[in-house]
Symmetry: C2
Subunit: 517 residues, 2 copies
């Protein structure tokens, strides 16, 4: 058995049986080994950003990692932005990066690069496999490292001669660490804080927003103490919909977040660090915790926040949580805009849907319109690196073939990793994509208005304009084998969405919406 076979067999034995990949020459023996290990499913992406984003989306829904097989430093570079998002989201990913044969390193071959250095930005666990005999054990260690807690990107660099060399040994799975159980005394301390006067807020992140039981416990704490509950700005996965304890998200812009946090006496953190704003601005220093607010960590990111919340609710002898009522908006009519798209989504979202949300400025009306839809999961761009939405939808669909995936996607950011559509077509994935085609980098136009409106002349604003030429997503989708339609009215959008959600395989709707600015 060569090293590549030992590597793949070990991955499968460790529970990693999907490999998203865009391989190159140094990965040929890994690819050749796939036929020897039919339990490993290889899913091809046409660009590494689509591969790593799919691995991220897969793990968010599967609960365990996929592998992402990449080609040397440039391949890792191409996949880095979505690994950044995975890192920020605490999502387990096993990144396997092929390298030159050990003796060919350092000779200045054209594709030579420092893979470890590139990986350092997204991985705390990095190992270069040294021998076919050990690469199985390396793989088992990588899977355990990826699982955390918290989940992380584990990078295993595999030189070509380690793949092709004989003597491969399959290693047994390594048991991952478990989340630390929060001590009773800490729960009691936080309960005491919440029983005192002063406005309090629970900020929940990590794995908590994905867990309806944890959200329910947070809701019970709120019902018992009057504390409010917010999730981090971009939760990795947020369970919501009718019957689920509702939780709002911290706002993106600092002035909105400050308004949410204004006047707080106590901020209780659950699997999340104290919040700072996405960006600092000339008139805003980027800090969000109000002066005088005490910050209490109930659960650090590696702790079991769900259990801590349940314990806290029990200690407080808390009543039942509020739950979202079942409620859908009516089917929208008239002009098509982001609010109409949100209403159509709210009206039609199927039970158990997975929403991949990279709608950016168009996302604002979505939470309210979908709050009472049947239970569903919501995935966001955890690290702020755009180009995550379509790949994550792709990976989520691989993880959950029985659930409908709905990608709500801004036009500009769609163009970073549009190649994901081809993988959806190739794999026949049930993904419905709605492109909010406003012909603009609208978030940048908004940001410009916030920071430098007085200096933004026509040459600056031109850089946010995507109408010369306007992107035709119907043609782009067709070019990759995904059937697509264009919607120009709310009624068209609603009828097309209704049909798309009932159609097996991927479809795309190019929804022409107006700009905000």
């Amino acid at each position: 058995m060569n090293g590549a076979q030992a590597l793949i067999r070990t991955l499968v034995d460790s529970g990693v049986d999907v490999c998203f990949t865009n391989p190159g020459t140094s990965e040929m023996h890994f690819v050749a080994a796939l036929d020897a290990v039919p339990r490993m499913r290889a899913v091809l992406g046409l660009f590494e950003g689509a591969v790593t984003g799919a691995a991220d989306g897969y793990a968010r829904m599967a609960g365990g990692p996929a592998a992402a097989l990449l080609h040397l430093g440039p391949g890792l570079g191409n996949g880095l932005a979505n690994l950044h998002n995975a890192r920020r989201g605490g999502v387990p990913v096993v990144a396997i990066v092929g390298d030159h044969a050990t003796w060919h390193r350092g000779r200045g071959a054209p594709l030579e690069s420092d893979i470890e250095t590139i990986a350092r930005n997204v991985s705390r666990w990095i190992r270069s496999a040294g021998a076919p005999t050990a690469v199985g054990a390396d793989a088992a260690a990588a899977v355990a490292a990826a699982l955390g807690p918290p989940g992380q990107v584990a990078t295993l660099i595999v030189p070509a001669d380690v793949s092709w060399g004989d003597g491969g040994v399959v290693a047994p799975a390594v048991a991952p660490s478990t989340r630390r159980v929060v001590p009773d005394e800490l729960v009691e301390d936080v309960a005491a804080v919440l029983r005192t006067d002063g406005p309090a807020l629970l900020l929940v992140g990590g794995t908590v927003p994905a867990d309806p039981a944890a959200l329910d416990a947070a809701g019970r704490v709120a019902a018992a103490t009057g504390a409010r509950v917010l999730s981090e700005v971009f939760p990795t996965r947020l369970a919501r919909g009718a019957g689920v304890a509702p939780v709002e998200r911290l706002a993106y812009f600092p002035e909105d977040a400050l308004a949410q946090l204004d006047g707080l006496a106590h901020l209780v953190l659950v699997e999340v660090d104290a919040p700072v704003s996405f960006f600092a601005y000339p008139d805003h220093d980027g800090l969000l915790v109000p002066g005088g607010c005490e910050v209490h960590t109930l659960a650090a990111p590696a702790d079991d926040g769900a259990a801590a919340l349940i314990a806290l609710a029990d200690v407080l002898d808390a009543p039942a949580s509020a739950r979202a009522d079942a409620a859908r908006p009516g089917r929208p009519a008239g002009a098509l805009d982001a609010a109409a798209v949100a209403a159509a989504v709210g009206a039609l979202l199927p039970e158990g849907a997975i929403v991949s949300d990279e709608a950016l400025t168009s996302a604002v009306p979505l939470p309210a319109a979908t709050a009472g839809a049947p239970p569903h999961d919501w995935l966001t761009t955890t690290g702020g690196a755009i180009g995550q939405g379509l790949p994550a939808a792709t990976g989520a669909a691989v993880a959950c073939p029985d659930r409908r995936v709905l990608a709500l996607q801004a036009d500009g950011s769609a163009m970073y990793t549009l190649q994901a559509l081809w993988t959806q077509a190739r794999e026949g994935l049930d993904v419905t994509t709605v492109i909010y085609n406003n012909g603009a980098y609208e978030i940048l136009a908004v940001e410009m208005a916030r920071v430098a409106a007085e200096r933004a002349g026509p040459r600056a604003l031109e850089l946010f304009d995507l109408t010369g030429p306007r992107l035709d997503f119907v043609a782009l989708a067709a070019g990759m084998g995904v059937p697509a339609t264009r919607a120009e009215t709310a009624d068209e959008l609603t009828r097309q969405l209704d049909a798309a959600l009932a159609t097996p395989g991927p479809t795309l709707i190019d929804a022409l919406v107006p700009r905000l600015t």
Copy 2:
């Protein structure tokens, strides 16, 4: 004047008046400053790989750098592969990477990353601007560093508060270093070597292949001594065509390169390091210099190789060089394959054309078919990171608006940075793209056959198959505003190419060619 204005004014004063960009929030003040400095042309790309590849292609043709404006670590990551190619090609690029405000760094904001660490893979010169008063001087230093010699990627990290802060000071241009003149004694030594017996070969790289006078001098040396001349595998820019001294390229596969170098007694390096193969293989260690061959460095990569070659030819009292005769193949007829495309290109290539070649396996017949075409320049994928061809064509067209650019592009690698087509449409660039659509990662199928044919089963080979679904480049191009046609016969291809080369603005031909394997 704020820092951003000082930065842009300094760049322009230093000769950098084109900025390829995909900006984000941290770059808003740079964008806002564009209206104050109309001499700076900003060219928008929809993905950072298209931006950095365009900056690379621009500099190859302009001789000096463009700026590439990128957004934090993820933006740099997205652009890293083509910066890798620029690094390998010794191409000057000024990469400007926006960062968080200085005080917002280290707080764990979602987009925080270690930009310097990512940049280290492609840049030896990296600086983080510290103050608006100094960012002008930083920019002038970056331009000088980018110019080398040899050319390189200089990375200037600009925190947002350095951009928006007042007190910006425009700095004067910094004179770049000049190339070292090779000492007469070294030229004499090499002349003595070449006068002795034993087969000798000049391997030329760096700026030499771009310079017809340098190639002519190499040809004179060959005429005087019987030495052969080869260029490095993937020259940054190769001048060729009728009337130019012809130079073949070192072969890609090691067995072919070894055949070229077999039996050599002397290898003379001119602006290039001793060659190693792209990859090592189980049956090939990756070394190319034959045992017993003496290696002589006439000019290191930072030396003036052209002057050294001219001096060498003069010392040898060399006769005139051979020159390529004017000769074009006939217009091809019959079935469409890579040879027919090559013949059509040879038959129609306009004088002064710039060819951006990322045709990979389909490129094999191109050199012979175009050897006698009117003089033209040939750009290659210097670092082996695919996704360079379309962006480089875009940048070359910005640099040379009076010349026709022809992008000869494999289908699989086109999909990495296809967004470049949109920039071509937006800017109205005279770029004609021919996609060799063989529905496969054919280079990988070839590599698999070389290394592991006996183990490559159907599941492995499936990963090289791009026909399920087949990419429709006519639709993809139309989606980005580039008119396109499909060619299924040699005659269709030739007529379409003839028309496309006479059409202002970008066009694309989706040429359906058969696989090799």
